[in-house]
Subunit: 252 residues, 2 copies
């Protein structure tokens, strides 16, 4: 066993398990714990691992901003998010819009689900850092502070280079006649661009959005596969949407 080979092995273990225990590795490879410790020390000096008592951890945890973990979504949004997360298939690719509901979806994804998440929200990207299974693709562009997502021409252009099975879209208004609407024209354009890159588009609509309309149209109903909501399935508006041929998934 070459020294360099050992170091690669350690990095591999770290990537796979998220940790390395000096004692276990030494027993596995049949070498002394001292050698493992020496390797870990060297790797730590190069900034490739974070040395801790008993072994080593990946370097990322220190980078994660705990502040973004704080906000807790209300029950309704969490229920919607949970249903939406269930639509994501292992090995599949999902486009996640910005907004608090989409953030809740990201958090609701099983940590080990192997899937690709495409998003224009840096907040969601950060939230997914500790999901070992998720591959994150971030769409860049100018970041607008009030919605905390990247949009504008650069972001729309970046979106042209991806495609996915599923797009989960947050909107501010869901109305039988007006369709899906939002309060900002640029935002609407971005959501349209995202939706166009996915085979299916589901809308995340917690109950307070149902029956309301904002100024800018995102999509007409023909382009929507389904709506995920926590509203009463017998609600008049919900029934109307269903009659338009749109699937309605109701959550708890």
């Amino acid at each position: 066993m070459l020294a360099a080979e050992r170091r690669d092995h350690l990095l591999g273990l770290l990537a796979r398990d998220g940790k390395v225990v000096a004692k276990d590795v030494a027993a596995d490879l049949g070498i002394s714990e001292d050698s493992v410790r020496r390797d870990l020390r060297d790797l730590a000096a190069e900034g490739l691992v974070q040395r801790v008592y008993g072994g080593a951890l990946p370097v990322s945890p220190a980078v994660v901003d705990y502040a973004t973990r704080q906000s807790v979504a209300p029950d309704g949004k969490r229920a919607v998010a949970s249903v939406a997360a269930g639509l994501v298939r292992p090995g599949g690719a999902v486009i996640l819009d910005g907004g608090t509901t989409a953030l809740a979806v990201a958090r609701a994804l099983p940590p080990d689900l192997g899937c690709t998440v495409i998003t224009h929200s840096p907040t969601i990207a950060v939230a997914l850092l500790d999901h070992p299974g998720a591959e994150i693709f971030l769409l860049g562009g100018r970041v607008f502070k009030h919605s905390a997502v990247a949009y504008g021409a650069a972001a729309v252009e970046a979106a042209q280079n991806v495609s996915a099975d599923l797009c989960l879209l947050g909107v501010t208004g869901v109305h039988p006649e007006a369709g899906l609407t939002t309060g900002d024209a640029e935002e609407a354009a971005m959501k349209r661009a995202l939706s166009a890159r996915a085979a299916e588009t589901y809308v995340l609509a917690s109950s307070e959005k149902i029956g309301t309309a904002s100024r800018f149209r995102v999509l007409p109903w023909e382009r929507v596969t389904g709506v995920i909501t926590d509203a009463d399935p017998h609600d008049a508006v919900v029934r109307q949407v269903q009659e338009l041929g749109v699937e309605v998934l109701t959550a708890g």
Copy 2:
């Protein structure tokens, strides 16, 4: 179960459930309540949790932010970050690399300084959301979990479309002969691409990086305008770097 791993687990529980009960965690992990209490005490000392009778609660986001300024960025990095933030001119554009030191720079920017920040780190983008003056441009791409930044081909390509007055680069090794180095080849390429888009490049190098070298070269000294460090200005390595014609800014 490593001690550091346990602490991460506690922070994770806190983020997910909004609280931690010492007794339950001890039973769950099969360890003594004393260990849990000790961990919580340490985390509380760092300001990451709020200790209460029976367990712990999250601290308010504002306090977390303050705490992470204090603890995640040790004095040295904070001093470096403060000097670096002083190089950013009102109305100017700065390219901010990823890493904890660069994150500290973002936080050290005066909130009302009108400037454009270009970054490939979603963490930094999120941190800048509450800086009213900063315009944020995010470079997209595949997000690598261990360093929490976007790089790869897409990110390098995105970087080609921007330009800035100043680039602040974090590295893991600063060595008179080896130049600036880091532990990952893709990361090195990304840093090179960023540096190429700015008129001037300064390197953020807290003292423990000085005199060390990693596997992959980022830039030779000719392409570096200056180094910002908290190391002793009379240090032998620092003097050597100065003799290479590189400006050395020492902090605190």
